[in-house]
């Protein structure tokens, strides 16, 4: 039974990271209807910036965490300003391909640095022994990561529900012309949405980096795995992203915990999200919390 609870705990840990990573994708999609395929690369960039600041420049990890969030904030904002702003109103395939192209560019830039091909790990700043409760163990890094994730998600939800900027962002996602007519600058909201997405990506990157170690391949793979998450939750729902992230984390951990090695299967944890994605797309394309707006033939 403790095996079961162990899987539940690790599923929640993985799931909360998915939730944070998916949050950025949902923010961008919600306001500007752009599916950002370069999100994984921004996550990786955030993680590497934190690592560089902490290890090479000796900045305390808390400050480098904040600094990397600030840097990716402006990085994502400039990406929107330089590349995506010109493509407003273009066909969807152009927009998708531009973000794929951007992912490729970021790949190239990160491969040019030593971070692209080596493994790193953050210096440990928390106690290394795990907490064991009733046979279920969780490491301090995981615990703190999950707590930070939920605090951040809480902050973002507050920001969207209560603050003026957040309300204007929701207005833009609801109706662009309506938002314009009450004096909201739509391009500025797009830029802000990208910027907050960059910020959350950096946070996700740091937490993943602390839990699993820094490896570019694993970090940018998150940019693809979040798609099943956001589709499950509904592409434009923040609550959906959080719930679906945790569901997906649990499904993945249960699949690799119970299916692998049992029926001659292995690696099911990697493929399960996509199978679920296909099933959802076939039966409930708008996800759990998404708005019904899919056209049908």
């Amino acid at each position: 039974m403790s095996y079961f609870f162990q899987i539940v705990v690790s599923g929640i840990v993985v799931g909360s990271i998915y939730a944070l990573a998916a949050l950025g994708l949902v923010l961008v999609y919600k306001s500007s209807r752009v599916a950002n395929f370069a999100h994984g690369q921004i996550i990786a960039a955030g993680a590497f910036i934190t690592f560089f600041l902490t290890v090479r420049l000796g900045v305390p990890i808390f400050f480098s965490f904040l600094a990397s969030m600030l840097i990716t904030f402006f990085l994502a904002m400039s990406v929107e300003r330089i590349f995506l702003r010109r493509l407003i109103g273009e066909p969807i395939i152009s927009v998708i391909m531009v973000t794929i192209g951007l992912a490729s560019i970021f790949d190239g830039l990160i491969y040019l640095t030593p971070f692209g091909s080596e493994n790193f790990s953050f210096p440990t700043f928390l106690p290394t022994e795990s907490i064991v409760v009733g046979g279920v163990s969780i490491s301090w890094t995981q615990l703190v990561g999950v707590i930070i994730t939920f605090v951040l998600i809480g902050c973002f939800s507050w920001f969207f529900k209560k603050s003026t900027v957040g309300i204007s962002m929701r207005a833009v996602s609801d109706d662009q012309f309506g938002a314009m007519s009450v004096g909201i600058s739509v391009p500025r909201v797009f830029a802000l949405a990208w910027a907050t997405a960059g910020l959350s990506a950096a946070a996700a990157g740091c937490i993943i980096g602390n839990i699993t170690g820094l490896n570019f391949e694993t970090l940018h793979a998150f940019g693809i795995v979040v798609f099943p998450v956001v589709i499950l939750g509904g592409l434009d729902s923040i609550l959906g992203a959080v719930v679906a992230g945790i569901i997906m984390g649990l499904i993945q951990q249960f699949a690799s915990g119970y299916l692998d090695g049992n029926f001659g299967l292995n690696g099911t944890g990697d493929v399960m999200p996509y199978i679920i994605l296909l099933i959802i797309l076939l039966f409930k394309p708008h996800g759990l919390f998404g708005i019904h707006e899919i056209e049908r033939v």
Partner: protein, 364 residues
């Protein structure tokens, strides 16, 4: 009205028969024939090293694959981020035949045209199957559905021991009427075979677009509800577009298997799907000559970047492998710049040149 059959400054069709012609003017036909003669004669006149012959073969295979993708994306307007998986299905059809009956069985070595067609049909079947979500999904959702097909394909190949866990499965050397195709003329032989296939399929696509089925694709792309109202069946058309794309991809995959004499999982990854998309976009979506320009441009860029990174490797010593860095960088830049400044692709340059020379020296 007597017409100049060499040059036409406008559209002077008086019957449907005239509009159905493959070549509108004698000039078109002459240019096309010269181009074909050049492509066929080139390797006979010049001595091309195997390295560059392989690049040419690769370009031609990519053209076959992009033909399918351009039909799907450019003409039918359906986004697929899983095209490399279809190519992989073609290749793994050949590979699984090799696994069952042995890589040097007479079916593999002598009846390779049959196998190539079979691979195409296999690709079409899978294409139609993957196209089923297209009945309900559009745009981004469809893109993500095909993406998940790509990921499931990758996992499946790596998981099945029948497919050697994604490691190379060998395919025997093909035979021609004169006997086995030897090591020295292998690439040359496949250059001609693939060139013939490209020409045949190219004419096929050109003619398809003039038939009811081709026009259906375009109508569904432009507005599927209007197409429905006009008595077409949009759902069937979409599935059939996916099947067509799968067919072309399957043929390309089988050719890839024979050219490399082996099938490995790492030629059919997500990265390759993106590369096919880039080729289709750089060439020009929804155009016929874009099918040929795109792969040429992207593969040429790859070649140049490889040479450049050898040079740059001397200076950038701290970066572990400059080619792995510069390839995605240049590739991404090309995609982004084309989409921002020339979204209609290289085919548009061709169109501009053509319309300029048509009216020269007059202009409006």
């Amino acid at each position: 009205m007597s017409q100049n059959r060499w040059l036409a400054t406008g559209n002077f069709f008086t019957s449907y028969k005239q509009e159905q012609r493959t070549f509108f003017t004698h000039l078109d036909r002459t240019i096309f024939t010269c181009f074909l003669v050049l492509l066929f004669g080139w390797p006979l006149v010049f001595e091309i090293s195997n390295k560059y012959m392989l690049v040419l073969d690769n370009i031609l295979i990519a053209i076959v694959a992009v033909m399918g993708l351009n039909l799907l994306l450019g003409f039918a307007g359906l986004i697929s981020i899983g095209h490399a998986a279809f190519v992989g299905i073609g290749a793994y059809t050949v590979a699984s035949v090799c696994q069952v009956i042995g890589e040097n069985h007479v079916i593999v070595t002598h009846f390779w045209p049959v196998l190539i067609v079979c691979a195409g049909i296999m690709g079409a079947i899978f294409g139609a199957f993957v196209g089923l979500p297209a009945l309900r999904l559009k745009h981004l959702y469809l893109a993500i559905a095909t993406l998940s097909f790509q990921m499931i394909f990758e996992w499946f190949i790596q998981f099945m021991s029948f497919f050697n866990q994604g490691q190379t499965i060998y395919v025997g050397r093909a035979h021609w009427f004169t006997g086995q195709v030897g090591r020295s003329e292998h690439y040359l032989f496949w250059y001609y075979i693939i060139l013939i296939i490209v020409v045949v399929l190219g004419f096929g696509v050109r003619n398809l677009l003039k038939t009811k089925y081709g026009r259906c694709l375009v109508a569904v792309r432009d507005n599927d509800r209007a197409a429905d109202a006009m008595g077409m069946n949009p759902g069937l058309t979409k599935v059939y577009a996916f099947a067509l794309a799968g067919f072309f991809a399957g043929v390309a995959g089988a050719l890839h298997a024979y050219l490399y004499r082996g099938v490995g999982f790492d030629s059919f990854t997500l990265h390759h799907s993106v590369a096919y998309l880039a080729m289709a976009i750089v060439g020009g979506l929804g155009t016929l000559n874009g099918i040929f320009w795109g792969p040429v441009a992207i593969k040429y860029l790859d070649l140049q970047v490889e040479q450049f990174s050898e040079l740059a490797g001397h200076y950038l010593t701290y970066a572990p492998n400059v080619a792995t860095a510069l390839k995605p960088l240049s590739f991404g830049l090309v995609i982004v710049l084309f989409l921002m400044y020339e979204p209609r692709g290289i085919a548009n340059w061709w169109r501009i040149v053509k319309s300029y020379t048509k009216l020269w020296p007059f202009r409006y």
